[in-house]
Symmetry: C2
Subunit: 341 residues, 2 copies
């Protein structure tokens, strides 16, 4: 019997579903002052969020390492039992990951899916465990406001004014241990995203660029599993923010699907829009990962939500592609999380 | 029965091994004039290698797309049967891949493993097929001399002098269709690399930075499979070049392993060192991929080589990590290719 049964073009349903055993979350100071502040495992205490390091890049690496160690510790397994690590971040050549998890000495699959990477990492991790390739794997992603602004936008010292459609990159890292061992959260299936390009070119409106990809993946999940969206207690998008979420809901409605009552977006949840001056909401690889780990998973564990579709979204661009006039396509991966009995 | 039997800490041996069905290769003008020139499927005819596009980045994307289409065509399967695409490149945020394969509309797992990415893509592709997640998948990587120099070094117009330890980024893309369907090349196992850091910081000596990782992966393959290296007709490293290969052979000898008679390096094979002025050899994601597709695979298909260990190596760095004084760790993935009876 095969471990992953094909459910349609883009999706896999696991006959022997792997479990999400633990999450480690670490965030920056601003995130710790937001609505989810008390739920994270660890947070930075200085405004620069340097975590004892000298650069933002080193700080991001440090966060990844700490998030991984937290997740391993909470799963109560020895580190050497983790067979593979699936990880990525937003920086060029994924250096936050390669410099962050080096000391763990776990065989690595480096990933890039922009802010959808947490979904990609969990999908590949779950696929590996379900196939019997590993008893335990780690999935980790991160982002850092300082390193991301430096990578994608303007030097912070310029104090450039941000348009209202801009999102605020979350400083945070979330790591997850996935394994065969039973826990209260089962990863029952995945929907792997395609690249979706509506031709948008505004890097200060990432939500708008990514919303079509989220729509595409949600519709694929619905079709592949032959499932109405009402089956999910919650559909959790990654970091569409206020603008992207509005677009997503509209796009879905045009396709006859209404998820308004059961939709939440991590980018809208992590900051208080009224008091934290984050404009269209949070974003970044870390946004969806830490919100999943600290807010969504506990709700599934408690049984408040029995079935959740987690859909982190990514905007596929670089400063080079942007400067050369390319559009910004999006991608989104879907992870089906279920309360295990 | 599980499709992937654990063979030790870092390796997987497939009980139902997937097959490498076809390869599509495309290179630039310089590569087409090198020793392997006649073996590639397609090559650029202008010195800039623009492939009809306006920028090097667009040209690299175009190469990826063409390599994929070639591989699909040679596998003689309809494109819609390709279930997942595993792909990556060297550019920041992997834009060569996301802009290149967008039009194919195949669900994508974006990867980053520097020049080891061809190994990572083939490993994950093989794991997916062996697990029954897909009948066919694509693995693709690329590099482009122009886009890579712009990304990592100096504007070409400066005409900076390159030290003799520097390597020449290969302009090329290689794509592979992996499937359940029988062919003459079986992917019987993989060894997933760990990050190995000897503390080297010279970005103009990538071979030296990557050699320890290649050594580590080869020794892990030997240990995990309980196999002497003499079992392999050839051990093919990706792009260590002349300097890195010398270091690798010495490191292995210190560990009691001598592969000198059965080692080749794609970076040493693709250019003529005497006439092509490429210093320490070729490099880049495309180097190992196009050499595997055009030179190594045909030898296995003809039965000249029955068992090959393919070990592409990557240097994990960015201009930011380099400028901040970080060392350049390496990673290498091992793919066991066997002549199928």
């Amino acid at each position: 019997m095969k471990s992953g049964m094909a459910k349609g073009a883009q999706s896999l349903g696991f006959t022997e579903a792997p479990f999400l055993l633990s999450a480690g979350t670490i965030v920056g100071q601003k995130e710790s002052q937001g609505p989810l502040g008390k739920l994270f495992d660890e947070y930075g205490e200085d405004k620069e969020n340097l975590f004892g390091k000298e650069t933002w890049e080193e700080a991001e690496s440090e966060m990844q390492k700490r998030a991984c160690l937290r997740a391993i510790q909470k799963a109560q397994i020895p580190q050497e039992k983790i067979r593979f690590l699936f990880g990525g971040d937003l920086l060029r050549q994924g250096t936050a990951t390669s410099l962050g998890i080096e000391s763990l000495q776990i065989p690595l699959f480096g990933l890039f899916g922009a802010c959808s990477t947490s979904g990609e990492a969990i999908a590949l991790g779950a696929m590996s465990v379900a196939a019997g390739y590993a008893d335990y794997v780690l999935a980790v992603t991160s982002s850092h406001f300082g390193s991301a602004e430096k990578e994608f936008r303007f030097p912070l010292g310029y104090a450039s004014q941000r348009p209202l459609s801009a999102q605020w990159t979350v400083t945070g890292s979330g790591a997850f241990v996935i394994g065969k061992e039973k826990s209260k959260v089962r990863i029952s299936g995945v929907t792997v995203g395609k690249i979706v390009d509506y031709g948008l070119k505004d890097s200060q409106n990432m939500g708008g660029c990514m919303a079509p990809a989220a729509c595409d993946t949600i519709l694929a999940n619905r079709k592949d599993f032959g499932r109405e969206m009402e089956e999910y207690d919650q559909i959790v998008t990654g970091d569409l923010g206020y603008i992207g979420s509005t677009i997503l809901l509209e796009l879905l409605k045009k396709n006859g699907v209404d998820i308004e009552e059961r939709h939440m977006d991590c980018g809208m949840k992590i900051f208080d829009q009224k008091t934290q001056d984050t404009h269209a909401g949070g974003s970044g690889c870390g946004c969806a990962a830490v919100t999943l780990g600290s807010y969504v998973l506990p709700k599934i564990i408690k049984g408040e939500w029995k079935k959740v579709l987690f859909v982190p979204t990514g905007a596929l661009m670089s400063t080079v592609s942007f400067n050369e006039g390319e559009s910004i396509p999006g991608i989104a991966h879907g992870i089906v999380l279920e309360r295990a009995c």
